[in-house]
């Protein structure tokens, strides 16, 4: 039996999101025992997240209190931390996965594997030279590209599947554990609601509305929720319920909202364990970016994810192809809470229509969204989940950058060469050549700087006084990582490799950099090949006499 440890020192949503990888691991090999190391403050998840054979905990709050409070000897924090990890040290692990890739997890990955070369490791860890090492280029993708690239081409969950090498497996039952008693209670209540309309004999669909997230920038404004509820109450096919945690802030918000409806709304207050039963029995949930979204994905309950502010939907959005993501159009999004006034405003009507789509009450062609709002639908391709704009306004060129960046990754990493241009071939007002020119210019500039760096590198090997020129040109080259062209992706890989040079020998490092520069040059050429493939396919399609179908959506 293989023993696999997943280190995940992130918050609840990320912990639930791990459920997809665990599901794939277990379905591919049910004999594997999967354990997780998490912070003790999230211990409640043990009752809820299925498929995990054992949990280990770091009591971060206690360790911090012991370390920071001057009344306690430093010895106490040191020993507490050491003891929290003692049981993990006793187990013979076959594999360790650094899932969170934060500094603490990375140090702990090094700690657990330091004197155990037989452990197969996935993710990033530190070497004895204190440089970072990545188990594969997928670890670079996760650690270096996804946080920096504006419109992420790969989902976190997929990144981890590829990093570990687990073929994705569809979600099966029991990924969210529930108590039969809770299941029965929820079922009893919801059955009454669902059968409520005896006149039409039509089963009512119950829609949950999650009121709060952990960050106000992500929240659906209260006034929007109130408008949304009014729309839902006017629809005889659906019944809204409010979802809250047993926290005063959420209880108060629910009260305030309920007051608008003469306290007639049903408010479901549940802890983490009971929540599983609730979401399993709802037909759809409307939620901002919360851990509930990830729970719903594991329970296969479709959601409408309202993504705003800091919500990083492209890399961590809903993973369910029956869900939808509603977002201000990508050109307006900055993914931080300081620039939200420039984001498109998601209205109650937009959320309502997305919900109708999710419940298949309306067709896509009937959707009419506010300006600067887009609905994205997750689709599954060879790489994993990709978000396609299916309604509303979007920037075709931005979507093309996303799409071709993903195509480049597919070609490079999984040798998938087929290019599907169906989304773009009928796109109106698509300034293909202007876009191509811009991207090709980026490639030209990058190639110029690669060649300049190579030249100065070779000169510096012959003449040490030229080293400074090499450094300057290398810095200029790496400056291109600030931009978000398709060609930036291979550059990020290059940068990550340069950052992890491990040799103490300058000569050896120089040689490695030279090899990396040649590789980068080749990778950039592959980006150009992707452009050429796309351009050629589009031109073939446009010059063809065959009528083609396609989406007919107004562009920005």
């Amino acid at each position: 039996m293989k023993n696999v440890l997943i280190i995940n020192l992130r918050r609840l949503g990320d912990l639930y999101s791990t459920g997809h990888l665990i599901n794939s691991i277990k379905q591919n090999d049910p004999t594997i025992a999967v354990s997780m190391l998490i912070y003790k403050e999230f211990e409640n998840i043990t009752r809820s997240l299925g498929n995990v054979d054992q949990f280990f905990f770091i009591d971060r709050k206690k360790i911090t209190a012991l370390k920071k409070n001057p009344i306690f000897s430093p010895a106490l924090a040191i020993e507490k931390f050491h003891n929290d990890l003692a049981d993990i040290q006793q187990i013979n692990w076959d594999q360790i996965i650094n899932y969170s890739n934060d500094k603490i997890a990375t140090y702990l990955s090094s700690y657990f594997t330091a004197d155990k070369p037989n452990i197969e490791f996935f993710g990033i860890k530190y070497l004895t030279s204190q440089t970072m090492t990545r188990s594969s280029d997928w670890a670079i993708m996760f650690n270096d590209i996804l946080p920096c690239y504006a419109h992420t081409p790969v989902h976190f969950v997929d990144c981890y599947h590829h990093l570990y090498g687990a073929p994705w497996a569809p979600v099966k039952n029991h990924l969210i554990k529930t108590h039969p008693k809770h299941d029965q209670s929820v079922q009893d209540v919801l059955e009454k609601i669902k059968k409520g309309d005896t006149f039409t004999n039509c089963e009512i669909q119950v829609v949950g509305i999650q009121l709060k997230s952990s960050d106000t920038s992500k929240d659906i404004p209260a006034e929007t929720i109130i408008e949304l509820i009014s729309l839902l109450l006017d629809n005889s096919k659906v019944f809204p319920v409010l979802l809250i945690a047993p926290i005063k802030l959420e209880q108060d918000l629910a009260c305030d909202i309920n007051a608008y409806f003469d306290n007639t709304l049903i408010v479901i207050e549940s802890d983490l364990y009971a929540l599983g039963s609730v979401i399993k029995h709802l037909n759809c949930i409307i939620t901002p970016d919360t851990f509930i979204k990830h729970m719903c994905d594991l329970a296969e309950t479709p959601i409408v994810e309202v993504s705003r502010g800091k919500s990083p939907f492209l890399k961590q959005g809903t993973y369910n192809i029956n869900s939808y993501v509603l977002t201000p159009s990508l050109p307006t999004r900055k993914y931080d809470s300081t620039d939200m006034e420039n984001e498109g405003r998601i209205k109650a009507g937009d959320i309502y229509q997305a919900m109708q789509l999710a419940l298949k009450h309306i067709l896509l062609s009937e959707v009419k969204l506010s300006s600067d709002i887009t609905i994205y639908g997750p689709v599954r391709d060879e790489l994993g989940i990709y978000y396609m704009p299916i309604s509303g306004s979007y920037d075709i060129e931005l979507e093309l950058t996303r799409y071709l960046a993903r195509h480049y990754i597919k070609k490079t990493f999984i040798q998938h060469k087929a290019l599907d241009i169906s989304f773009f071939k009928d796109a109106k007002n698509f300034r293909l050549h202007a876009w191509l020119d811009c991207e090709k210019n980026a490639v030209t500039e990058l190639t110029r700087d690669i060649l300049s760096t190579l030249k100065h590198l070779l000169l510096s090997q012959k003449n040490k006084t030229k080293t400074k020129d090499f450094v300057v040109s290398l810095e200029r080259l790496l400056g291109h990582t600030e931009k978000h062209h398709v060609a930036s992706i291979p550059l990020h890989f290059f940068k990550a490799h340069v950052d992890s040079l491990t040799s103490d020998s300058t000569a050896q490092n120089v040689q490695v950099v030279e090899e990396l520069l040649y590789k980068l040059k080749g990778d950039i050429q592959q980006v150009l090949v992707c452009f050429k493939e796309f351009e050629s396919l589009i031109q073939d399609t446009r010059s063809s006499t065959k009528t083609v179908g396609g989406l007919n959506i107004p562009q920005t």
């Binding site: 206690k62 000897s73 040191i78 140090y107 700690y111 204190q130």
Partner: protein, 223 residues
């Protein structure tokens, strides 16, 4: 700081036939009606008892005030409460315990212990981390003011020597003594160590670096 000295200790009997410890001439409870005195004392702390189910008490005496606290906490929190008592005078504590005056087993008494020793007790540490309410028995507190004030103002010694005395794991002790011998402030030394780019020679380095990330000195994360 050493434990306070007792020059004179005797046990008297109150008008209500209750035993009253008298230390250095100071009566720790009322000689007239210690129970009524205790009731009144607890009433003054009612709000605190409602807010906090864990209470740290300075001064044991002969537990009349403790028993009243127990009664009140039981009314408010049922069985879910805990009282910890710090008492510097072991003689008083032992007499109290032998008289069997306590009415609850949810009272933990620490008596005759130095501050260093107290702050190394795991059970007490866990109790303090839960941020209990603090109540001082006035007579005891006034009698042992220095002891209790120093308890409140205690700062754990940070020298390598003192930290090594608290550590139990031999590997960690060796790691620290090999690298940080004779440091006056081990916390600062560990922080500086974590900021340096030296080669890792012992896997415990990773553990300490991780610890510095969890709770950095002065709140600054490692560069």
């Amino acid at each position: 700081m050493g434990l306070p000295m007792t020059d004179n200790y005797q046990i008297k009997t109150s008008k209500t036939n209750h035993k009253i410890p008298v230390i250095n001439g100071i009566h720790l409870h009322s000689m007239y009606h210690p129970i009524r005195e205790a009731e009144s004392f607890v009433l003054n702390h009612l709000q605190l008892l409602k807010d906090k189910k864990n209470i740290l008490v300075f001064g044991l005496g002969f537990v009349y005030h403790i028993n009243q606290l127990v009664i009140e906490l039981q009314k408010i929190h049922g069985d879910d409460y805990k009282i910890v008592v710090i008492e510097p005078n072991s003689e008083v504590a032992n007499d109290c315990l032998s008289l069997n005056l306590l009415i609850s087993d949810k009272v933990k008494i620490y008596h005759g212990l130095s501050h260093d020793r107290l702050y190394q007790d795991e059970e007490l540490i866990n109790f303090l981390l839960a941020q209990p309410g603090i109540i001082a028995h006035p007579a005891s507190f006034n009698l042992y003011k220095s002891y209790f004030k120093n308890f409140l103002q205690y700062k754990a010694p940070l020298s390598t020597e003192k930290v090594l005395m608290v550590l139990r794991d031999e590997h960690i002790k060796k790691f620290i003594s090999d690298r940080f011998m004779n440091e006056d402030d081990l916390q600062v030394a560990l922080w500086d160590y974590s900021q340096s780019n030296h080669r890792i020679v012992n896997k415990l380095d990773y553990l300490f670096f991780a610890l510095e990330e969890i709770a950095p000195l002065n709140g600054d994360a490692r560069k």
